[in-house]
Symmetry: C2
Subunit: 308 residues, 2 copies
């Protein structure tokens, strides 16, 4: 059961509802998390439409239901296969743009406000999209910066005057998992292995100094360095991680449009890897923030009409 | 049963024995194939060591057994998990270098000569390897050239004075299969789809003109172009193919060390894709040869002591 004083101090219930997980947060006026509950029932695991989503909340936060306590959600819950599709807002976008795009659904008589994702198109007309990360970017409170959110689909966002001007996705995390689980490169890697920071650094340096040879070529070295015994099999996953993150950092820094400071947001162990890689590219140290969705949702709540 | 006149004209039995398949060829003095038989029993499908490999030949070419008709094999049959490991020859290497590295095994009383693979190390000490392609490169009869062998693991080899000076592997084919079968990108692709040459060309152009954004970023467009309806779902696999081949071609051309003519060797439909991509990079038309292992094995047979 919820702590009564937490519920009293709460100004908002925030949901960070991604593809593979849900984090429900009781948030105070400062954007701090009073209580947090997690569920593996991400948007991509749910079928049955609105009723399926609603039942997840019934089971997870029924004791947080207080008339007048607003509910906001960001992430894949607002996608085509989510609770309700919320069309993407377009870059450039700030908190007001996003709040204006919110749509609400009904959770047993209470309105739940779903935030839109964000879309930007390159000059060549190639679209890019995010859902959830835009809220974390706002939550970081960065007026000018290049905000990096490492993950399955990493995002690099250019923020100017508190506005997300453009962003780019890099499929780095998914590529690592794919190559490790399904490719010829994974075959040499033991299931369990300790971390090898030196092998990670070696992979980053290969991307930095010989990246022009191309990622599709350099990946094969994960196999040959193992076959020839130049790297222990237990270190190959870290070399691969360094190579992939190095290629992302190389491309991300090269396409930075504004000379603004870098900020990392996300899972601390992953942010540390990116921080290390950025330093190898002479672009560090870079401040690292944990998930900032709570503060982002608090900011958005103030701008969605009739919420706060 | 074998045609008696073919067997009379034959000068050599050549085996192109890769990971996933075996092609056995009855070869004449000109390096032409009189008869060809294929088996899906590639080296990676066999266990049981020498006996397993021997039984495959018993079943496939028992009627080709003629005392005095020499047997040569190239490919993964000479790898660590093959019939017998034949150590890699080192670049620079020509036909004599490779022939000198051959080792033989016994097939029911007849010697089978296994050719070595080839290894080259970059200046930075990163190794690269091939097994089988070196024989096709020889078979192309190119004195000066950049020989491209598209495939699961494409090879770009620099040939000077008939010597393979260096080469680079690109995991393009494996990456295409991985992304199509196991990634978020494959989810939008229908199981069956006709070819869309325009979508392929669009992917190549994206790699050529915006490759600096990085492959890990550009791959995500396969998803977003599908989600936004800018490309039909049935065209996404061709766009992905163009993007990957475009990145390979971009890196391969950029790291070419000698200004020698390009040659493509391999499966005709795949070579056509590469030919198209190379023309988009203003590097065509490029001559395209089908598998040249037979001519390569004929050349090697003349140089292995006691064979011809």
């Amino acid at each position: 059961m919820v702590n009564a004083s937490d519920l009293e101090q709460a100004q908002l219930i925030g949901l960070d509802w991604g593809s593979s997980s849900l984090r429900a947060m009781l948030i105070d006026a400062q954007g701090l998390v009073l209580e947090m509950r997690a569920s593996p029932q991400g948007a991509s695991t749910l079928s049955g439409g609105a009723a399926g989503f609603s039942r997840v909340l019934d089971a997870l936060i029924d004791d947080w239901r207080v008339p007048g306590l607003p509910l906001l959600a960001c992430g894949m819950v607002g996608s085509q296969h989510g609770w309700r599709e919320v069309p993407y807002a377009r870059c450039p976008a700030n908190a007001a743009t996003l709040a204006a795009g919110a749509l609400s659904v009904d959770w047993r008589g209470l309105p739940l406000h779903l935030m839109p994702g964000l879309r930007c198109d390159t000059a060549a007309g190639v679209p890019d999209v995010m859902r959830g990360e835009e809220t974390q970017i706002l939550g970081a409170g960065v007026a000018q910066g290049c905000v990096i959110l490492p993950g399955t689909h990493s995002k690099w966002a250019q923020v100017v005057d508190g506005e997300v001007r453009s962003f780019a996705t890099h499929m780095t995390g998914e590529m690592f998992a794919l190559l490790r689980q399904h490719s010829v490169l994974g075959r040499l890697m033991p299931a369990q292995a300790g971390e090898d920071p030196a092998a990670f650094a070696q992979g980053v340096l290969a991307a930095r100094d010989q990246g022009g040879l191309g990622l599709l070529h350099q990946l094969f070295a994960v196999r040959t360095l193992g076959l020839t015994g130049q790297l222990p099999h237990a270190s190959l996953a870290d070399y691969l991680s360094g190579l992939l993150i190095g290629h992302e950092v190389r491309a991300g820094l090269a396409s930075r449009q504004y000379d603004a400071p870098l900020v990392l947001i996300g899972e601390p162990a992953l942010c540390r890897r990116y921080g290390t890689a950025l330093e190898q590219f002479d672009s560090g140290p870079v401040p690292q923030l944990p998930n900032t969705a709570a503060a982002g949702l608090r900011d958005l709540a103030r701008l969605v009409p009739g919420v706060l």
